[in-house]
């Protein structure tokens, strides 16, 4: 009898957790794809009206056009091969780390009629400030210089 009560309690918890997980999943997921995938498959309308998390790209230097009060910019992103125009439609103030060459992860929708990505959320990391490759170019240049001389 005692045992049954505990089993029952366990089942209730597992069922409750399962219910919460399933319900939570219905609304709050987004497909994580790269800019390459989106660029290749945009023509097939596969991603229209889907919530997408777009990763693996950086902000094209000089492409950031702020609105009057520096709140919602339009900008381009690139992965080196493809580029895409982005319009920020979210409400929050963009992270301070958002600037030229930042690595960005965007969440939002692809708008096929304008060929641009409407981002509701922008995550940004600075390219080289935390940890990075900023001196690598310099080192390569020096080493190239050495072999020349």
């Amino acid at each position: 009898m005692q045992r049954h009560k505990f089993t029952l309690g366990g089942l209730v918890i597992v069922a409750g957790l399962g219910f919460l997980l399933v319900r939570g999943f219905e609304q709050n997921t987004a497909a994580h794809i790269t800019l390459a995938t989106l660029s290749q498959e945009a023509a097939t309308n596969a991603w229209d009206d889907q919530r997408i998390q777009l990763g693996g790209s950086t902000v094209v230097p000089g492409s950031i056009k702020w609105d009057k009060y520096r709140h919602r910019p339009e900008f381009s992103i690139t992965d080196g091969q493809h580029t895409l125009q982005v319009r920020y439609t979210g409400n929050a103030v963009l992270p301070d780390t958002f600037r030229d060459e930042s690595q960005v992860v965007l969440e939002g929708h692809y708008n096929p009629s304008h060929g641009l990505f409407e981002a509701q959320v922008v995550f940004a990391k600075c390219p080289s400030k935390y940890e990075g490759q900023s001196y690598e170019g310099h080192i390569q240049a020096m080493e190239a210089g050495k072999t020349d001389s």
Partner: protein
């Protein structure tokens, strides 16, 4: 100095290898000389890594920019404090720092426990120095902070300005001290499995050593939240980012452990479960570090992708195999000694609490790892947004807070229906009264009503415990109420410290509940213009600019009043750091116990000096920070050494002076019973 630091690191590697070998061999052969040697080597690692860390600090403070780490993470214009904290501002330095804290813990364990847990200690030392070995390898071969550039830059990059913040200076060390410290209970768990000494000794050791990092981890989590709140400008403090989740998960597992060990201590049950929890806690710490450092899951936390990740993957696999293997090997010794006697008992509530905490942990883990899981099974990477975590964890959290209050009202073993009625009547009535009052005052959010009702219930239930205990004490001692209350809490630090932590949890939940009522407004104002937001009246006075050596500052002066009464002049700002092409947003907050008025300067038009503001009114946020302070105080109350601890320590000292161990064991039992 930098060469000395590197040299010390190399020596530390050799010493760590020696320590693992001697401690393990000493344990196998029961050779005391080898065990001692292993312990001394563990102390030596601590000394060597201290030299190493000082070496790197010296390089930072002397602006030795030829060292790549120094050039990457500091510059000449950074204030002294942030130059010091730059040590953990970048990956390589933070890993060295991590290893150093680990060695400090190891030294502390050796110095504090080497007489007390004699049969366990060599295994503990072996496990901890093996972990040190791993981190030193990492530092030497994958994340060397002492690497020099082939040239010396004139100035360094500097620490990212958003990290130059007091909370960010102390948040990582707190978190690391928490995460790293979990290796101590892990080591005691493994030592118990290896030595087969699965009596209660390892559990006592684990509890003490779990409480310390658990407190640091909890404090670190909240400090990170505070930093995000005041620095990132999005009006919140917790975003369910994978890295935040990664540090929350071990805290949840540790919390479950701290509760379930009480059942083992009293009833000899849940031995297997407790062992799993203590090993899981450490596993989650390393998993979290792996997630943070490897870049397998995209996160706003910006440690660059590096091959450090693969090292952690190997380490993670090793500790998993070792843990699972050893638990399987000792499965017979981990059987329960007794069974639960009644469903209506405190044991049941503790069991429920464990299931609920683990459910929460599972939900967070599932959401965090789902991109990887979905990619493995369907080929499509699906990410899970913050609303998922809120939707799942709010109901689970409400059950948890209910148990926080209900637990103390149940007696151990079995509770009679009469005593349940007696204990529950006042808290339930009080909770419902508060809930009803909130409803009348206009709270319409279902979860918020339930939460506030439960919070009131828990406060009444717990203060009832304090009250009844004090009255009982007064009855037998004739002390005055305050004296009796203090002595009650002092004599039962563990129990009443635990209740204090529970009360702090209530404060946190009150704060979390406020999130249901956050309001957000965008405003464009010209200088001199007024606006009404909620019952606040604000006047945009002027836009000002100033410049100092490091940065340009643009600030808006906004006067805040309510009902005609002056509240504050707020100065939301943007800083533009000269050597970095990046502004930082400095929000201005008018905080009260009721709510925060949170003001962000979004941007301005230089032509007419008009400015755009973002305003968040965040009810009850202060309760979160106050709850954090209360959490630390309650945890300290639990940890504070008792007279029993002091007597044990005195015995330890006598043993070290040559009293026979058998004599000591008998005396110790006398104290512990």
């Amino acid at each position: 100095m930098i060469d000395l630091g590197y040299f010390a690191l190399c020596l530390a590697l050799v010493t760590a290898g020696y320590a693992v070998a001697t401690a393990a061999m000493g344990a196998r052969q029961q050779n005391v000389a080898l065990m001692r040697s292993g312990e001394n080597a563990a102390l030596a690692i601590c000394g060597l890594l201290t030299v190493s860390v000082i070496g790197l600090w010296y390089a930072l403070l002397t602006h030795d920019f030829q060292v790549e780490f120094v050039a990457e993470n500091s510059n000449r214009s950074m204030p002294l404090g942030y130059t010091i904290s730059a040590l953990w501002g970048g990956q390589n330095g933070s890993l060295l720092f991590w290893g150093w804290i680990l060695s400090l813990y190891t030294a502390a364990v050796v110095l504090v426990n080497r007489h007390r847990y004699r049969p366990l200690m060599p295994y503990v030392v072996a496990t901890m120095t093996a972990t040190s070995f791993f981190f030193i390898v990492l530092n030497l071969f994958a994340a060397d902070p002492f690497v020099r550039l082939p040239f010396t830059p004139a100035d360094g990059n500097g620490l990212n300005p958003i990290l130059q913040h007091p909370y960010m200076a102390i948040h990582p060390p707190m978190l690391y001290t928490g995460m790293v410290g979990m290796s101590v209970p892990f080591a005691f768990g493994l030592a118990a499995l290896f030595s087969g000494q699965l009596d209660r000794n390892w559990l006592y050791a684990c509890r003490r050593w779990m409480l310390i990092p658990w407190t640091f981890l909890g404090a670190g989590l909240l400090l990170g939240g505070k930093w995000a709140y005041v620095e990132l400008g999005w009006g919140g403090y917790w975003a369910w980012d994978p890295v935040e989740n990664a540090s929350l998960m071990p805290w949840l597992a540790g919390t479950a452990f701290l509760h379930s060990i009480m059942i083992q201590e009293r009833k000899g049950m849940l031995k297997m479960w407790n062992m799993v929890l203590v090993l899981l806690t450490y596993f989650l710490c390393i998993l979290g570090t792996f997630i943070t450092r490897s870049g397998v899951i995209s996160s706003v936390h910006a440690f660059a992708k590096s091959n450090v990740g693969s090292y952690f993957a190997v380490f993670l696999t090793l500790i998993t195999l070792l843990s699972v293997g050893m638990i399987w090997y000792r499965r017979e010794s981990l059987r329960a000694e007794s069974r639960l006697e009644s469903f209506a008992s405190r044991e049941t509530v503790f069991l429920l609490n464990n299931w609920i905490l683990l459910s929460m942990l599972f939900a967070v883990l599932w959401g965090t790892l789902f991109p990887l899981i979905s990619e493995a099974f369907t080929g499509e990477k699906i990410t899970v947004g913050a609303p998922f975590f809120n939707q799942v964890n709010v109901p689970i959290g409400l059950v948890l807070i209910l148990l926080t209050g209900a637990g103390p009202l149940f007696a151990w073993r079995r509770t009679s229906t009469e005593s349940l009625k007696k204990n529950f009547t006042v808290p339930i009535a009080g909770g419902l009264a508060v809930g009803g009052l909130c409803a009348i005052l206009g709270v319409r959010d279902g979860y918020a009503l339930v939460s506030l009702t439960l919070c009131a219930f828990v406060v009444l239930a717990i203060t009832g415990e304090f009250h009844r205990g004090t009255l009982a004490r007064q009855h037998s001692t004739a002390e005055s109420y305050p004296v009796a209350l203090f002595r009650l809490c002092h004599k039962n630090r563990r129990r009443f410290g635990g209740y204090m932590v529970h009360l702090s949890l209530v404060m946190l939940f009150v704060g979390f509940t406020g999130q249901a009522f956050t309001t957000e407004r965008d405003l464009v104002l010209t200088p001199g213009a007024n606006a009404e937001v909620g019952d606040y009246h604000l006047t945009f006075e002027t836009l000002a600019q100033k410049e100092d050596a490091r940065r340009d500052v643009v600030a808006a002066a906004v006067t805040l009043t309510r009902g005609g009464a002056f509240l504050s002049t707020l100065l939301p700002q943007r800083h533009f750091y000269k050597n970095v092409d990046q502004p930082t947003t400095e929000v201005a907050v008018y905080a009260s116990w009721r709510e925060d008025f949170y003001l962000v300067l979004v941007g301005w038009d230089p032509k007419d000096s008009s400015a755009k503001f973002k305003i968040y009114i965040n009810p009850l946020v202060n309760w979160v920070w106050a709850g954090g302070v209360a959490f630390v105080l309650g945890a300290l109350w639990c940890m504070w050494p008792t007279s029993r601890d002091r007597r044990l320590a005195a015995l330890d000292r006598r043993t070290s002076q040559g009293l026979p161990a058998g004599d000591w064991d008998a005396q110790k039992r006398g104290i512990e019973v």
